[in-house]
Subunit: 270 residues, 6 copies
């Protein structure tokens, strides 16, 4: 197979990043890892560059010589504005600048359902639906999708923005029965995003092949992402654990789940 020379994984010490290391190893001569935290157990074709995403120079240096970037770093939940601003917005911008200056061809970006969290599950939206973020976190995801759109239109840098719904070791609540993305399917998604011959700027909805679906992924057919897992093994236990669903509550009606009900993060007591 045609390999990349060097793939950079940001957030490589994180929950998903650490799973991607092994899964993507066969796609490149070298996998470069970066994280704000050190990574000790490097594999044979792995290398590590420590960097805070907030530091443009460090990020540019980490991107140097990488023809593909898998950007899974940054804060992965709602947080105060200063955290989101520095980790997700400034950090995200820095990664795209690193990609552009370093001559990368493609970025696979861990976007999120929270970019469109205020759409209803019954509306079965597709990738043409306008942004409706449900949180500051979601607004930052929108920012990254828009930024990457401009980096493709203007600079020719391709991106796949994978709107991950719920990626955890296993489903943790009732909503996850339809929103869950298994770690293995997450790796399949990134691999497909890296191997597809042309992606330009693609929005991909990302769950496993669960029985109930909350979106229409037909506009990403050229990625060739075919999830293999589903949540049926967890169904009985999950349904039993959530005997009462109130369909009027935002957490059930909207794609974004509980995040649609969170208050402004800067209102919370420290």
């Amino acid at each position: 197979m045609a390999k990349y020379k060097r793939i950079l994984i940001t957030g490589a010490a994180g929950r998903l990043g650490s799973r991607l290391r092994g899964g993507l190893a066969h796609l490149a001569d070298t996998i470069r890892l970066t994280d704000v935290n050190p990574i000790a157990d490097l594999g044979p074709n792995e290398e590590f560059v420590q960097a805070d995403l907030d530091d443009l120079d460090a990020v540019v240096a980490a991107c140097e010589g990488c023809d593909a970037i898998v950007h899974f770093g940054a804060r992965a939940d709602e947080d105060k504005w200063q955290v989101i601003l520095h980790s997700n917005i400034i950090g995200g911008y820095n990664v795209y600048e690193g990609a552009r200056r370093g001559g990368a061809k493609r970025v696979v970006y861990a976007s999120s359902v929270h970019a469109i969290g205020f759409h209803k599950i019954v509306d079965q939206i597709d990738a043409h639906a306008p942004h409706r973020p449900d949180s500051l976190y979601g607004v930052a995801k929108c920012f990254m999708e828009d930024l990457s759109r401009m980096y493709f239109d203007k600079f020719g840098l391709e991106s796949v923005c994978c709107r991950i719904f719920s990626s955890f070791p296993e489903p943790a609540d009732r909503r996850h029965l339809w929103s869950y993305l298994s770690f293995d399917d997450c790796v399949r998604m990134v691999e497909a995003s890296l191997r597809a011959p042309v992606v330009e700027h693609t929005i991909l909805f990302a769950t496993s092949d669960n029985r109930e679906k909350g979106f229409d992924n037909r506009l990403a057919g050229h990625i060739g992402f075919h999830p293999q897992d589903n949540t049926e093994p967890f169904r009985a236990a999950m349904e039993a654990a959530t005997p009462e669903i109130d369909p009027k509550l935002p957490r059930f009606r909207f794609l974004g789940g509980y995040m649609t009900e969170l208050p402004h993060p800067d209102d919370a007591k420290a």
Copy 2:
């Protein structure tokens, strides 16, 4: 699994209703049956309440204490206006009033292809297509879909309107090769409609997984209905029995089949 306390099945002595009794038994502590005709062979978790759908008080009483209603009662074919008016329109209204007054959370309603029967099969409509009923029967189905839409928007009562195409013991004519819904798939459809966590007001097209398809069901992905049967076992015999298809005839072109060619039912001789 999270069970309903009591599911009411209307038309429980009918062709489809009688199949639903067994199929839904595991979903509730009690299955209450209602029909204008008596039902003798009650199972261990079944109870029976006799009621004419046309009688509001009787229907309200039947709905009392039911948290879900599977409304499969009423006249199941084109008929004179007075029959459709009383059985399908007034009877249907009574069921929704029963549901609302009794505090039910969800109704699964046996709507029909005849609500959109004058759309063409080649147009591959989805649930956003406007109503185009093909008969008084179809107009009554539209009435019920619109009524249930209002009961959700105003009163929060959820509904799944299942547009059943052709549900019989087995395919009976050439059109059924694509329009057939097996009884087992019909049960799967109702079960999925009852188990889906949020349905708000959903329109579901309902056939088995036949080779040829006449609609686009993507807007009901959150129901998780996956038919398991298909009509291939019947194909050779059916095709042989219908050597000549005239694609200009409404019965072949339109989703509603023969019903699009029926005269006004009140013009027929008594």
Copy 3:
């Protein structure tokens, strides 16, 4: 101009019906009026047939010999189910049966914004939007739109369903600034609907040419309805009379206005 032989106006003694008598006089040799109440002051080309819409035989007799029907009769507000059922549903059915049996070519029907009252003004819907009635009254309007669709598809009887928003002597509240239809524009609308060469089954949104608009009427371009009035003369007084708008209230957000907030009419105390 090509005249109709005889136009029937139902509800001819009502608020709008009485305005239509003069406005349509030049379009037919004879204007036949019908109402449950008597009309005394008949003009030279007018004739009167008393009929309760609920009475099929009487309605059929009234329609006899009419090549066009302007159906503005029936209850014009939310009401108890039995009223809506008899006046709007059964009465409306009777008018279409009268039209069909009497050989009329076209019906102009006073439908209503309340057939789509739960759509939001900011969504700027067009005639392809699904029904979202806001009341029993609205459900009956949906019923009539669906019934007339079938009468065209099956029997070739043309209809223009005019979704009247707010037609009163003058604007009466803040919402009317965008929803108002003057009586003169209402007459223009019916005249255009009668004169357009082909209408098949057309949905027309009907307000005056007000500064703010709540819908997209482009799908009715073949009707040639061009309202001439607007609410600017009433603006200053109306805005002063409604100093506080709460955009979260259904009465302001949704097309249907206050009717979206009404309780079920049968819950009200007698």
Copy 4:
């Protein structure tokens, strides 16, 4: 099964035509073959009529007595205007005139991706997308799709226009990984197009069931075409053979591939 009496295959000596002979044999009492070149090895239910598509009288004669026509003849690549004009445009017109005059009920036409070759793969178009031909060859395919649309609307002659992407013995370049249609799937496609009960005028996108997809075929669900092959067995070799993809090049971005980059065929040196 209900058989056709006589199916005519044009271009029966060609790459795809010769594969169709065996595949369609069971669908008709007689398979009539036509080609500008002679065919010697006729099977038991085969007959041969030699004809140049450019010759109206010969084509009309070949169509005589055929109730279905599988039109796979004509130039199968970009070529000079005079070749395209005579083989594809005039020849194609002659086949439709032959079908009409001979009373055929249905034509299955080998249209091509090149009718919409200037749409981008990432746009995932469906059959409603406007024509965007990429070559004179593609313009001729558009002509045939439009001509056949008129022959249905006016004369009731049904057509399935199969937009074949890349049908070869096996995938020959990187783009074929998503665009390839195996010969066996091609036969399945024609069989489904002949057997579907009603097709009116249908546009069908035609590739095998490859991992990556470049279009949305939902509008052809009534054809019942389910490809069984895919290109995974060829993937490793193909990816290795195309190490560098430049997503800015038309040959990769657009559905039509290399044909979007060809100069005008009449500019080429003889």
Copy 5:
């Protein structure tokens, strides 16, 4: 104003072509006229080149040195295949080749409603609607729209395809009340098409500003065509002359009018 150096008008001796001569004179230093018939009365900035559109060399010569081409030549009604083929298809191809080889920047092409004549007036189509030609003449118009699309996508030659509905000295039948394009509005349309800064490949629907409209022209807003005439002065006489409209007849229902009812032109007796 920025002038063109030389505008070529084809069909300059024809009904519309002769009106364009004066109307476009101020837009170019030189107006070159071409027609198969001689033109004697040349104005001061006019020049004439006689050419049969069917003759590629002659057409190429006529196009030489022209930076814009207004292609209004060719047969302007339904006709036998050989006429349409030579005058409209081959002739039209020759004009685009002339434009391409001569380095023209823009073509304004007299397309026709007959390219979409089998769409219904009540469907209010826009420029995204697929072709539905109503005649061989209409198929040739589709061919030209598709050819010009390719000449823009591949060679950068801009086109405005003006779908002229009914352009005559004055309205001649009832349908013209909505379909009429006055000669003055026709000139305005061509002028706007020539002056708009960017047109790429634009489809423009072309009638005067008549009271009833049969299409949605919003996708051509960048052309800036604002018709100034309408058919109201002709209405009374026209309506009187067409007392009976049968909305079931194709000539009234479909955009293409009478042409939808014509038989195949080669079936007609000589």
Copy 6:
């Protein structure tokens, strides 16, 4: 008329802000102005609060007691990332936080064509089209549109995002003939945005009523913005000044004009 108590204008010393002061005076008891630069000439119902948008506390203080905010402050052209980040992104966030904390009901925000600058003029997009920013400046506008969407969905704060195309004293180049928004129309736009009874979250395209249009504004009909000016008085001079348009250049094809061709602002030499 119903007045606001206090409207805050940000950027009140700027090009557009200074024009808004007078134009909005009649809409509120008090107009509060804010800018990083001092404003000396306060009118009778004006008050001034100096604030740098980058300073959250200062902005929150400025918003205190204002029931509407007209946010026209921040950098108004492409600039280096640090400028855009602080002035447009952080500054914009601060204004929305100020609005939320201060209890404002509505924000009118000066968004920009550059949020969708990479859409083509010939595509005639509407407000449902996805973001396609053409610059860092455009990305910041997208950020603000997304942020304000969330502030409405979650906190109920209404916004009108006015995508201003080109607002200058008069048209300055050829593109402005269609993209120009006069200062008077800009004031009309803000006034309409403040007076419309319900806006939820509205996207409004903003030019004067120019002959050529580059977008479809029908989704903002409820705002009631009717521009009164146009660029015809400037046309002759502008067309003469731009004799050559190359329709292949991004600056002419795309809505965003010259900004689509700018390099990354951080690549420019200081």
